[in-house]
């Protein structure tokens, strides 16, 4: 049996988790909510993260529009996603939730805007 000590990152409480892995059975203790259990399991089986960045805007009232992966993506795809995000440019206007890149780096997850940018 493998035992791993983790810090939950799902909220700022930062609960110390103990994860026991026995074959495909994973048991999480130390969490204070169901999000912690989910995080503990995911973190040892297939860790994921939400990635945030910003993308250059053409013709907007802001230079950059902040963006995020709509859902969490596998940790090992973070830099592949960043490659695509860094090359991207969008034209104003942009609204929160607009898809900036559909299916980023083959993750099946889209990159969406997290701020409104007006056209000028």
């Amino acid at each position: 049996m493998e035992v791993r000590e983790l810090i939950c990152i799902r909220c700022p409480l930062g609960c110390p988790l103990t994860v026991r892995i026995e074959g495909d059975q994973v048991e999480v203790t130390g969490n204070s909510c169901s999000r912690g259990e989910e995080y503990g399991k995911k973190e040892v089986l297939s860790p994921t993260r939400v990635v945030t960045s910003s993308v250059r805007v053409i013709g907007g009232d802001l230079e950059m529009v902040p963006v995020k992966t709509k859902q969490d993506i596998p940790k090992d795809k973070i830099f592949a996603c960043m490659e695509e995000i860094r090359k991207m440019e969008v034209s104003a206007p942009v609204s929160i939730g607009d898809v900036i890149i559909p299916d980023c780096a083959g993750t099946g997850v889209s990159i969406v805007a997290t701020r409104n940018v007006e056209k000028v």
Binding site: C11, S53, M64
Partner: protein
């Protein structure tokens, strides 16, 4: 002179939540003054996620969290002035403002809510020897340059201080292709949230060196390198531990200071630990009708708690207007922070006129394991809760209920402290 019932200084998360709460409490004549070109304050540059789990039960980025409150304020038709700098607040609650449209103007307020936030401790406050080349930024300045203005800040980075902004920027710069070589922290513990150490440093293999500081800065035009050294218990560099790092960028994440020049001008009594105003349970300062909330009151880790605190300040200001400023203190009790608790906010409670419950927020002085947080009403211990870990970087809170004071009619003092057993 223009007159308003409530004037709110600052249109960040605290100012917006205060405005919405005051409006919901029935005050219509509200004005928000904001020095930036848009509402939302510092959240606009905090493009990472992790905001709003408490308030909205979902995980948002900073700009998304700000947008929720901006929408609320706009749907409530709360007036605001952008690009407007407040120069002074006097004891009669007359506010001197300046902007391009109105020039220099005075506004008279019946109640004022201070929501100016905080600013970063600069290099000048650290006394680091060495040259003064380009390439040294406070972490928040670098964050703004990258996330809002779209500049690339640097390629080889060292970060001094492990505050949350420094940790967030370590990840951000790594994602943008920079090499973050090390995060050095003077104290033997991190000043940031544990989760940020995990997801910003550990995820990317960035080393965190505790009890280390920068002892030299090199480079005449642009930064070329820095020297780190380990420090002893007295935070003095230990000879022989020096390590040189070549880098073109040094970020400083060495603490936040509430921005209270205006509060001081208004004659508000300040607290020597928080660097914010002293407040009672309604978040009213020592000056009647002037309230404070958010990072100008004390520096928070979580915007969710800023919003909660600010909503109380907004509701309290509304109640002050409705009562026409007539309010008597019935039974004020002092709150004392002792034995490992550095401060409390609020610093006093009117146990007769308080709401059903009051949230008392505080920070501890050091990292403690398996310690109790205790509350005493005069000499009687009324609460005793064990915590696995307490750290200065993580704000704690306790809730005191009005009912609990009934049995203590002569109560003079409430003590919040840590105890080993």
């Amino acid at each position: 002179m223009a007159e308003h019932d409530i004037v709110i200084i600052g249109g960040g998360p605290a100012g917006l939540a205060a405005a919405v709460a005051a409006k919901k409490a029935g005050i219509t004549d509200i004005l928000i003054l904001e020095r930036e070109a848009c509402l939302g304050g510092i959240l606009n540059q905090c493009i990472h996620n992790g905001f709003g789990l408490h308030t909205f039960k979902e995980e948002l980025t900073g700009p998304e969290y700000a947008a929720r409150y901006i929408e609320l304020a706009e749907s409530e038709n709360i007036p605001y002035k952008l690009n407007t700098m407040v120069l002074d607040i006097n004891k009669d609650k007359e506010i001197t403002v300046i902007n391009r449209e109105d020039g220099l103007a005075m506004i008279k307020a019946k109640a004022i809510i201070l929501a100016m936030g905080c600013r970063e401790r600069p290099r000048g406050a650290l006394n680091i020897p060495g040259y003064r080349p380009a390439g040294i930024y406070s972490a928040g300045t670098a964050q703004r340059l990258m996330n809002i203005e779209g500049f690339s800040v640097g390629k080889e980075v060292v970060i001094l201080g492990s505050g949350d902004i420094g940790l967030i920027m370590a990840r951000r710069m790594t994602l943008e292709g920079a090499k973050v070589k090390v995060v050095a922290e003077l104290m033997p513990y991190s000043g940031g949230l544990k989760r940020n150490i995990v997801q910003c440093l550990d995820d990317y293999g960035i080393p965190l060196k505790l009890s280390h500081t920068v002892i030299n800065i090199e480079g005449k035009d642009r930064l070329t390198g820095i020297t780190l050294a380990q420090v002893d218990e007295k935070r003095k560099p230990i000879p022989g531990t020096e390590e040189y790092y070549s880098c073109d960028t040094l970020l400083l994440s060495v603490g936040l200071i509430p921005e209270n020049e205006l509060s001081k001008g208004a004659g508000v009594k300040m607290n020597q630990v928080t660097f914010g105003p002293e407040v009672g349970d309604q978040l009213e300062t020592s000056s009647p009708g002037i309230f404070a909330c958010g990072n100008v009151l004390h520096v928070h880790d979580l915007v969710d708690y800023v919003s909660e605190e600010a909503a109380l300040a907004g509701a309290s200001a509304a109640a002050y207007i409705k009562a026409d400023g007539e309010k008597e203190t019935a039974h004020a009790v002092e709150l004392a922070a002792e034995n490992g608790v550095r401060y409390t906010v609020p610093q006093k409670i009117d146990v007769e006129n308080m709401k059903d419950k009051v949230t008392v927020r505080f920070r501890v002085a050091d990292v403690y394991k398996d310690r109790f947080i205790s509350v005493y009403y005069d000499d009687v211990r009324v609460s005793h809760k064990k915590k696995k870990v307490l750290a200065p970087g993580e704000m704690e809170q306790i809730v005191l209920k009005k009912d609990s004071f009934k049995e203590y009619p002569e109560l003079k003092r409430i003590v919040v402290c840590t105890e080993v057993e």
